[in-house]
Symmetry: C2
Subunit: 93 residues, 2 copies
């Protein structure tokens, strides 16, 4: 079984359980940490993903770090700023 | 000037600049820390509020702490879980 140093789940507009499944799968595959990342309106869903994963599916996993920041992205109408979040979960087993 | 220990801005569905103004005003009134709180879909707007306040309006203020959690709320159709966020900003002046 691989022990990857850090895996990332990018949260977008799909149903939240898709992302929960991705997070849980990565821990079951031996990940020590999983980073949940999102931008803009998907930030709320990233928080849901972390909370549902921790409360209902993951034992011995805790929040390691939560970082928010601003990213500049290119759009058709020029550059714009968008908020982003990164929630890092850590397995203590 | 009052030096309140902790002020709170609850972020809801109004335009983000309303909440930015509330945060900046509390620091200008002498607050040492301001907590930005939101639940559910408003979480994204709470992150926007923090980022815009820090990047465009506040000097000497940093993120002190970011906490996410799950709250149980009563609705017409029974109890339901909702994610929440609390972003604490701190003035170092």
């Amino acid at each position: 079984m691989q022990h990857l140093r850090e895996n990332t789940v990018f949260v977008g507009n799909k149903p939240v359980m898709n992302y929960v499944l991705a997070v849980v799968t990565q821990f079951n595959n031996g990940a020590e940490t999983v980073a949940i990342k999102a931008r803009g309106k998907a930030i709320s869903r990233a928080v849901d993903t972390a909370e549902i994963s921790l409360n209902r599916f993951l034992d011995g996993v805790t929040k390691k770090d939560i970082v928010i920041s601003t990213e500049m992205i290119d759009t058709d109408s020029g550059k714009t700023n968008v908020s982003s979040i990164e929630i890092v979960l850590e397995n203590h087993k």
